[in-house]
């Protein structure tokens, strides 16, 4: 109690507001509540923090409303100009409602213009007394336009968040070119997005390794026949998409194809993940794919023959050997200048 008395004395001496009835008093009350909240516990602390917010909001509203610096185009009391105080206070109110924990949320930004409009309209709704009243007819037209513009502003903020949401569902779009868009602009940054197809191919690789590496060579060759290969690739593609989490909407638009060609002793398996989803350039589909080249070669047995006692194959000594190169293609090895040139033509 002694300590509080000291602090109170100190505050009174140094931070004394010009009069008891002023906005500075409210700010001080807010600080005082915050200080008390640190000392208090549980629900008392919670209550005091709320009081601190409310005093701060009222104090800032009062302070910014009374100061002419916070009016755009202020000339004289007759021409008061446009008040900014509702929007300054609005920041605090929407933070008080939606981000009291200090985390900026979608709701905080989206509700800010609407809350500010309500604050700006409040004086017109308060009559003598003070009682609630319907604004006078001369003010009503301005209020309608005020709310219209502020709701529109909120919609624009909301649209920004909808776009962010879409990019969460379709992250590979960030690797594409937005120049044609009539709606959005992308700030070019150093870090480029690697399309999700690369992740899909990299997830497929160990699954193919499991199935092909170290297996008897005739079995490997059989799996690489057209029909068997398509089945195999579809199976590992489905497995890979199942495995990469979280699953997102974009996955449905990635298609994995394979092509095979024989090399000197074995085969080259060309895996290709093709983007079938929204894209800027519709003519050059091949630009929207990532590829991975894998080599399958026969090699002599590493296990003892006893491990395969019932082997009836004509070449029991050979087994498959599976190795892949890193992913190449869209968004990875194409210089961005080249990508721009084919889009711009």
């Amino acid at each position: 109690m002694k300590l509080l008395q000291d602090i109170y004395d100190w505050l009174q001496k140094n931070l004394r507001p010009p009069s008891a009835f002023s906005w500075e008093t409210l700010i001080l009350l807010s600080l005082f509540s915050l200080y008390m909240a640190f000392l208090a516990t549980q629900w008392v602390a919670e209550l005091l923090v709320n009081f601190a917010w409310i005093f701060l909001i009222l104090g800032v509203f009062w302070g910014t409303t009374s100061a002419n610096q916070f009016r755009v185009g202020y000339k004289s009391p007759v021409e008061p100009g446009f008040p900014l105080s509702p929007w300054i206070t609005g920041v605090l109110v929407s933070m008080y409602i939606f981000s009291r924990d200090g985390q900026l949320r979608q709701e905080t930004l989206v509700s800010w213009p609407i809350i500010s409009a309500i604050i700006a309209a409040l004086p017109d709704f308060v009559g003598e007394g003070p009682r609630l009243k319907i604004p006078v007819p001369q003010k009503r037209q301005n209020l309608v336009i005020l709310f219209g513009t502020q709701f529109l502003l909120s919609c624009w903020f909301q649209f920004y968040f909808v776009i962010q949401h879409w990019l969460g569902d379709y992250p590979s779009l960030m690797a594409d070119d937005f120049h044609q868009s009539a709606f959005v602009v992308k700030r070019e940054l150093a870090n480029s997005t690697i399309p999700r197809g690369a992740l899909i191919l990299n997830t497929i690789e160990p699954k193919l390794y499991e199935r092909l590496d170290g297996k008897p060579w005739p079995q490997v060759e059989r799996l690489l026949l057209q029909d068997q290969r398509v089945k195999l690739i579809n199976a590992v593609e489905a497995e890979a998409k199942q495995q990469i989490s979280p699953k997102i909407a974009e996955d449905a638009y990635w298609e994995v194809n394979s092509a095979i060609s024989s090399s000197n002793s074995g085969y080259n398996l060309d895996l290709r993940a093709i983007w079938q989803g929204p894209r800027a350039d519709l003519q050059n589909q091949e630009n929207y794919s990532v590829g991975k080249l894998c080599q399958i070669t026969p090699s002599s047995v590493r296990t003892t023959p006893a491990a395969n006692p019932t082997n009836a194959q004509p070449t029991p000594a050979a087994i498959g050997n599976f190795a892949c190169a890193p992913v190449r293609g869209w968004g990875i090895d194409q210089p961005s200048a080249k990508r721009d040139s084919f889009i711009r033509q």
């Binding site: 009503r140 037209q141 920004y160 909808v162 962010q164 379709y170 594409d176 868009s181 959005v184 929204p278």
Partner: protein
């Protein structure tokens, strides 16, 4: 989580189209409804703001419930100005129907908005002589609002339909010019 993608063009185009619509519609209201110039501009501004805000809200709801194939087409259109292939069947029909639906929805919102706005902003004396109301009795705000909500004069409807047609035509023309800029005639259009 946040990507550096901003809807700047959306905002610029919306502001441009709002100015075009307000200018054209205010002119129609001034000439056909004999409103003062100031009133026409204020009324046109209010009802157009109301229309775009309702439009946005509908858009936010629709994009959330759209089937995946239509939603990805919408996303492709917004990011790349393209409807990618393969397209779901009936896409063109869906877009055409949506366009027609939007035109008439805008018409209804503007008509009711105009009549309600007139009931709100006028004093009861002004309301008696308002070109928009067919009512010449003195009445309070609540009564005026109820009458405006329930009754519509054929003349108001014709004028708003005309104004709406003007502004939509002008906006379509601007959109067509933009389309030409990116797809010059003679180049194959996909």
């Amino acid at each position: 989580m946040t990507e550096p993608v901003l809807p700047l063009q959306t905002i610029l185009f919306q502001v441009l189209f709002l100015f075009v619509a307000i200018a054209l519609e205010a002119r129609v209201f001034h000439r056909r409804l004999r409103l003062t110039r100031k009133h026409s501009v204020q009324y046109a501004t209010s009802i157009n703001l109301l229309t775009v805000v309702i439009g946005w809200v509908v858009f936010f709801i629709v994009q959330d419930v759209l089937p995946p194939d239509l939603k990805s087409q919408l996303i492709g259109y917004i990011f790349f100005d393209r409807l990618f292939t393969p397209r779901p069947p009936g896409l063109n029909l869906t877009i055409a129907l949506a366009g027609i639906g939007m035109f008439f929805a805008a018409f209804v919102i503007k008509l009711k908005g105009l009549e309600l706005l007139d009931a709100i902003v006028r004093t009861s004396d002004e309301w008696q002589t308002s070109p928009l109301s067919s009512d010449n009795r003195q009445s309070g705000l609540v009564v005026r609002l109820r009458r405006a909500a329930l009754q519509t004069s054929a003349n108001n409807a014709m004028v708003v339909l005309l104004a709406n047609a003007y502004s939509h035509t002008a906006i379509l023309l601007l959109l067509f010019l933009r389309f030409l800029q990116f797809n010059p005639l003679g180049r194959e259009i996909i």
